[in-house]
């Protein structure tokens, strides 16, 4: 059976050839992933596996959102953190930002 990410040769629609600027969070995420890899704490192959293992609806997210979800899974698998810890921190950061004058 063909896996969802393994899409070479599948029918698809038109290609959007426009350039899009990379969002700052996506750049930062790329740097964080690279930093963890540079420490020898993760491998590119592990991240690829987690991306491939996403449910189709998550795989269909824009590229860096897909990366972010897969990276959360990778970090949890390695025991570095958990989804709960990440979500709690997200809520705390949001509160802090919204409290700015």
């Amino acid at each position: 059976m063909r896996r969802y990410h393994d899409m070479g040769g599948q029918p698809a629609g038109p290609i959007d050839t426009a350039d899009h600027t990379m969002e700052p969070w996506a750049k930062t995420l790329t740097a964080i992933v690279g930093a963890l890899r540079a420490q020898g704490l993760s491998r590119v192959d592990e991240l690829r596996r987690h991306i491939e293992d996403l449910a189709p609806q998550d795989y269909d997210r824009p590229y860096f959102e897909r990366w972010a979800e897969a990276f959360c899974d990778l970090l949890a698998e390695k025991g570095f953190t958990s989804r709960a810890e990440i979500e709690a921190r997200m809520a705390a950061i949001k509160t802090e930002i919204e409290a700015r004058p």
Binding site: R2, R43, E46, R49
Partner: protein, 105 residues
């Protein structure tokens, strides 16, 4: 730098090879569309730790031989819309290759 592989190379440029037709679960670096297809070894790329094992936290050693294999597009896709001399190249790890059978072309 390529780590030394444990075994000698099985294939050389010019050999006709077939991609093994099997669909193991998990992280595989051979696309579905090329499985079971036959082509020619275009070059040897070196020996690399097996990414299919690296993905699960293993060291991927001993390194596996990697070959660039050239396929005729008309051998891959039914009703390929283009000339018969169009090609597709990709890299195949040695464990995904077997010698092409005489009658399998």
């Amino acid at each position: 730098m390529s780590p030394a592989a444990a075994s000698p190379r099985r294939f050389t440029p010019g050999d006709r090879v077939t991609v093994v037709y099997t669909h193991p679960p998990g992280h595989r670096r051979i696309p579905y569309y090329i499985r079971g297809k036959s082509g020619l070894v275009e070059r040897y790329c070196g020996a690399f730790p097996n990414p299919e094992e690296l993905a699960y936290g293993f060291d991927g050693l001993p390194a596996r031989h990697l070959y660039r294999v050239r396929f005729q597009q008309t051998d891959i896709w039914p009703a390929y819309n283009g000339p018969v001399h169009d090609t597709l190249d990709l890299e195949v790890y040695e464990h995904w290759l077997r010698p092409a059978e005489e009658d399998a072309s």
